[in-house]
Amino acid sequence: MLVPTFLVTGVFVFYPIVNSFIISFFNWNMLSPVKRFVGLQNYWQIFHDPLFLVALRNTLFYAVCYVPVVLALGLIAALALNQRIRGSAGFRTILIVPYVTSIAGSGVIWQWIFEPNGVLNALLRYVGIPPQNWLNDPHWTLFNIIVMGVWQQLGYVSIIYLSGLQAISKEYYEAASVDGARSWHMFRHITWPLLTPSTYFLLILTSINALGIFLQVYVLYGQSAGPNNSAMTLVYYMYMNGFSNYRMGYASAAAYVFFFLVLIITLIQLLYSRRVNYDS
């Protein structure tokens, strides 16, 4: 009964993880049959490539900005949805719609919004702000991909938070309101601590997603890495070396650098979450 499962995951998950690691020590361009063992040279080259450092910086900067924004907005949405107001189910449904929209469709839609003659500039003109060159000005790159990322993931984050909120027993709030606690205090001392598991889950998940950012850039910037490589990310770097330059060994090494980064950040978050849970 487990044979199909382990056959498919064996060939397309476990084997590639190992294979990729091995290839990362070779110089191989895929077209030639020759694979030359180069040891750690690929890794050495990566860390000395200015473009890689740009990619690393952009990716980390994106993750650090995007994750808090999407968690905060998702939590605010979940708190509002949890008020048992009329139409709450409708709001919840609307928020999740971008999550089921393909990244290709989303990218094309946002590209049109950010167009110099697009709707965003038209709206800004109404309130007297001069139009911006959203997609060609590197200063806006990070903003653009954060807006699109939040738009896509907001519904997901709010649903996870909402199910966390609904799991909190009403008795806590009743006891607190008997004691005369104000709503901010209730949030600070009851809701937020009891939401810790949801927050950690979302923190880890959205961080992994944010570090792997590539497709948003690819579709938004018409298959380029943005003006001045301002949207070059780690996965974009890997993709570019693998599928434009066919440097499979080098790209595999880049993939592993990315993997280790994700692993380290996930482990730090896991360890920290364990410590926090013991404390409380």
């Binding site: 199909p4 995951t9 719609v97 949801s198």
Partner: protein
Amino acid sequence: MRKLVSYIVLIILCLFVLGPFIWMLATSVKPSYEIFSTHLQLFPSHWMFSNYVKAWKSAPFGRYFLNSFIVAATQTVFSLFFGSLAAFAFARFRFPGRQLLFVLLLITMMVPGEILLIPNYITIARLHWLSTYQALIVPWLVSVFTIFLMRQYFISLPQELFEAADLDGCSIMRVLFRILLPLTRPIWITAGLISFTASWNGFLWVLVVTNNPNIYTLPVGLINFSTDVGTAYNQLMAATAFSVVPLIILFLLGQRYFIQGIARSGLR
């Protein structure tokens, strides 16, 4: 007071979420000379539904739809079948290494898919599967998330149910499809909808392993169209609309199951 604030917050967030879709639909029915007009205009002076026909005809969208459907339907059926078998084994049988194998599968959910891209591309190239349906379907026949979702559900069922089935001498397949399936229908629908959506929207893998428009699925076809179409944004938005709307409708029909599935993903 608190309810008023909630309403305001939700209305603002929903406008942010829906705005781009509304603008997509508005653009898709505008005549060419109105798409770039400098003052905001939601409704066109002439409703150009012909943009949809033009867009549909300027690229093989029928073919893309068919490909997306073939790929998504096959993956969904197989991932449910294999997933339910594995979930059943993990939930019901005790065998050496059970815990280890399950943890191994769970770990794969933490591995970012991007690192599998290059080695899997190499595997597909070696199999001479580039630009074939096999390349699009086979690597995704098993969904660990489906296994995880179903196992949790199967564990919650009473043990007596299986014992009764054992006494009757039912085969595993019979137990699975005659007893378990009818009892656990919601989780099958949830897992099925999530696989179907993931597969329908899948982009990166299709992009990498296909270079033949006959094999393109909708997302890759749409991106291809977007580079060909130039500034005919009305046609592009029409194409985007008919690419994304079917799945939004599917989501609206099955939203109860979707939302349960998403909420459960937080329970790992």
